[in-house]
Amino acid sequence: MYNKFRLNNWKDKYLNSKISIKIIIYFSIIFILSTIILNFTYNKINKIYSLEKMKQSSVEVLESAEVNTSMIIDNVNDTSKMIISSYNVQNTLKKNYNEASEYDDISNYLIQFTNFNSNISSIYILDNNGNKYYSENVFYKNFELEKIKSCKWYDELLNNKGGYILKLNGGGFFEGNGNNYVSLIRVINDINTGQKIGMLIINIDENAFYNLSLKLGNQYGTKLIIKNEMDELIIKPDVSIEILNRTEKDNYSDSKVGFSEERVDKQDYFISSLKTPNYNWRLITVMQYNELPEQTKYIKYFLIYFSVINFILIIIGSIIISKFITKPIKKLCESMKDIESGEFNIVNIKTYNDEVGELKKGYNIMISQINSLLDKIRQDEKLKRQTELNLLMSQIKPHFLYNTFDTINSLALSGKNKTIYEMIKALGKFYRTSLNNGKDIITVEEEIKTVKSYLIIQNIRYQDMFEVEYDLDTKCSKFEIIKLVLQPLVENSIYGIRDKKEKGKIRISTYIEKEKVVLTLEDNGCGMDELQIKNIIENKTTGIGVRTTKERLRVFYGEEYEFIVQSKKNIGTKIIIKMPRFKN
């Protein structure tokens, strides 16, 4: 919960930071991740590879050590067989007594081996009575047959029926003067009868095995340890006791060579061991992990340098990239600051044809649109005020009022009270509805009423110069429209009829068409020529009535109204106005 919160916190911090910071962070994370993965992979692969190499190398070392060890032992074994099969030895031992001459014979015979076989340091032959024959390079150790018989390995020796056993320092007999010996011990049997006639001990100098280990390649600091079946060390290079302890473990699976990895004193060791099949010795190699070949070290250094340089380059690169992006954006931002003070100015900085350039272009288009819209709104407002003024002027219509009063005067003189009454009543109605408390919006019904009152007054004044026909759809009566749409046009119709000097006819109709209310006004007055019609359509007409009406419609309804004029000279005029439902 807390973590998630913190994570979100970080995320917010990241998302709210500047783009240049974001880019740097993003690249750094990617770079660090990839460097870690690269290093990790390299180390893994390298470890696997060098392990494999070490394995191979250790198997080679072990196998060659096995061959060499076997060779030394086989060599001594062969020597022992030569001694045993020697006629001299056989005969002397069989006789069971010791004569000086025979002693010399055998000893001289044995001297050959100690003289010319560097691996053999001493040879001892004992017959069943404890008589000794020997030749030795190093020392003489007094030992007795009875002592040997009480040795632990004596039974083992007898059980081998003449086969040899290998003991370190004769199983304890030759210990004590610093040098180690591997003793090959066997019973001497009569070769004809198989009866035991004596015993043979050949001591192999430990140096024989040391020499062999010296020949091994020093790669990985390989150390060779040889242990016999009792886990006694035949040869021991200078390795710590801790490592020696780790080699105790028997780590053979089914394969001939066993491997293990050990960590001692912060050092990794790779230990391989091999059991010799014939005499159960264990040959063990200890290799050091960190003593990797130079090449690997260099590659590691190179990787580190490479990573550091790369990191620096990436930081610089991301700074430059972010500069490229953020500098024009910053400039853009600064230019846009005027907006806060209400000035819509076009940005005028140098950009290229990139995203920033497009942004600038788009921004400038937007600014010019806004400016033109603002201009239009200002003009419209001006126009609206003008038309309102015009309307007000037309509403008051002083001429209409004078003329009406003149008509009432003459009517009064001729005593036509009833007509006067109607006229004044209509006049009152007309002004009530047309002024309408200053409200702009009225219903169709009210508009028609206003027109009706007006037509009554005019009809009285012009003494029935025209007749009026109404075709009204009651569905339209509650439809709200702006006021005084029809009245100025009706006024024009009356003038047209007056000029024609014929009995006129005016027809007013309302109906609904596709959610729009339609008002039509038809007369059979003098009509208009095409130029006049064109002027009306292009709003160039001088007549205040039509122009003001059209402008008022445009200001209120925008482009949604229709104003259609159909007219022919001396035949009449038809005006159709379609208005949408007024939305406030």
Binding site: I37, F40, I45, S85, K161, I191, N192
Partner: protein, 421 residues
């Protein structure tokens, strides 16, 4: 979120990479070939054909059994004895080894270092071996070896020399002595021996003792109650031949190989030795080869022996070490090799078959076939040195050698022979 996800995926991939690499390549040489060591005496260095036959037979086995390969070590006869005895004394007998039946192998068997084959030989195998051929490798009712061939002492006569000298090929000992004397008079050495190899002279003593004492009776030279008498008589007979200078003059200086050249060159009319000599006749001049016949050794009138008695028997044998790691494989190989050798030696002429021979008889060497006929329903007495075993046998051969050298008289010889046992 997604970044963390991909990071984990990469981590998993890397861990997989790690784990899969170490598991491989851990098994170095898993299935090891079995290698069996075999020692025998038919050395390639001597010009004997037997060496080649053994080599071919072993090669055939190695080809058919790639998992069980046989490695050969071979040393000539007398040196082989020291070698095998040393191996025995040091308990390092090879998996399969050649040995001699009878007394020679007795200490080996008694020490328990030789594998008893009882449980490895089924009836089928036993039925394929000729009757009596297991006698010399059976100790206390246990079989310890597989016979390779049957060898018998054979009397060879060069008929050309006989007819040229107009001398009758002897049927009895008197005629034999006459023939010896007649050849001697003509300046031809009648008999051949290469006494530097002491066992060659022993052949003459052995057959004389057999002819004198017969087989199985009280006068039997090996087991008879009256054998001292037989020994004495046989020694006198041999002494007589030596005194007549019936043997080649160089007999003490030549080995068997060297001495046989004289017979092969057609210089010597009579030779008593093993039947393996038939095989070697093949390489001889046709003028000699075609004139050689094989015969029973002449019988002594009035003595116990008859012409159906032979010195010899199935002595050459293959044994298996009890130390062998692959006993079953070793027995199988030994079976194959001994049976094949029995057949091939017979075909070639260097041995009579110890195993039943079922193949086409036309392949068989003529002299071999003839010898087999002569030796059918024969009975055998073992070579004396092998009967006595190695140590006593050596003493015995040395005594015979002294007879040849003229260093001992028949009485002393008989006395010392008695002392050996």
């Amino acid at each position: 979120m997604r970044r963390i996800f991909t990071f984990f995926i990469m981590l998993i991939l890397l861990i997989n990479l790690d784990s899969c690499s170490l598991s491989s390549k851990n098994n170095i040489d898993n299935k090891e070939k079995i290698t069996l060591t075999m020692w025998h005496i038919w050395s390639q260095t001597s010009k004997e054909a037997n060496g080649k036959i053994v080599e071919e037979t072993v090669e055939e086995w190695n080809k058919n059994n790639p998992d069980v390969q046989i490695k050969i070590e071979t040393v000539e006869n007398e040196r082989y004895k020291t070698k095998i005895k040393t191996a025995f004394a040091t308990n390092e007998l090879p998996d399969i080894f050649y040995s001699w039946g009878g007394g020679f192998s007795k200490p080996f068997i008694e020490s328990g270092k030789v594998l008893s084959l009882n449980e490895y030989l089924d009836d089928d195998t036993k039925n394929r071996i000729n009757d009596g051929m297991l006698n010399n490798v059976t100790y206390k009712d246990n079989i310890y070896g597989l016979p390779v061939d049957l060898s018998v002492g054979t009397f060879y006569c060069n008929t050309k020399l006989f007819s040229e000298a107009n001398i009758k090929i002897p049927d009895n000992y008197d005629e034999f002595l006459d023939a010896v004397k007649a050849f001697k008079n003509k300046g031809i050495t009648p008999l051949l021996v290469g006494e530097k190899d002491t066992w060659t002279g022993m052949f003459y003593y052995d057959i004389l003792a057999l002819r004198e004492g017969g087989l199985g009776g009280p006068n039997d030279a090996h087991t008879g109650t009256n054998k001292k008498n037989t020994t004495l008589k046989a020694a006198y007979k041999l002494k007589e031949l030596i005194d007549l200078k019936a043997f080649n003059e160089s007999n003490l200086e030549l080995t068997r190989d060297e001495s046989e050249i004289l017979f092969k060159q057609g210089e010597i009319p009579m030779y008593y030795t093993g039947n393996w000599f038939i095989g070697e006749l093949k390489n001889m001049e046709p003028s000699v080869k075609d004139n050689v016949i094989v015969k029973e050794f002449p019988i002594i009138n009035g003595a116990q022996g008859n012409d159906k008695e032979f010195v010899g028997g199935a002595v050459d044998t293959l044994m298996i070490s009890n130390n062998s790691k692959y006993k079953k494989e070793a027995v199988d190989a030994a079976k194959f090799i001994s049976e094949t050798l029995s057949k091939k030696y017979f075909e070639f002429g260097s041995g009579l078959p110890a195993w039943k021979y079922n193949d086409d008889k036309s392949k068989i060497n003529n002299l071999s076939e003839e010898l087999e006929k002569i030796a059918s329903d024969a009975s055998y007495t073992l070579y004396q040195d092998i009967y006595l075993g190695e140590e006593k046998g050596d003493v015995y051969k040395e005594l015979v050698h002294q007879l040849f050298k003229g260093q001992i008289n028949p009485e002393d010889f008989a006395k010392q022979m008695e002392n050996i046992e």
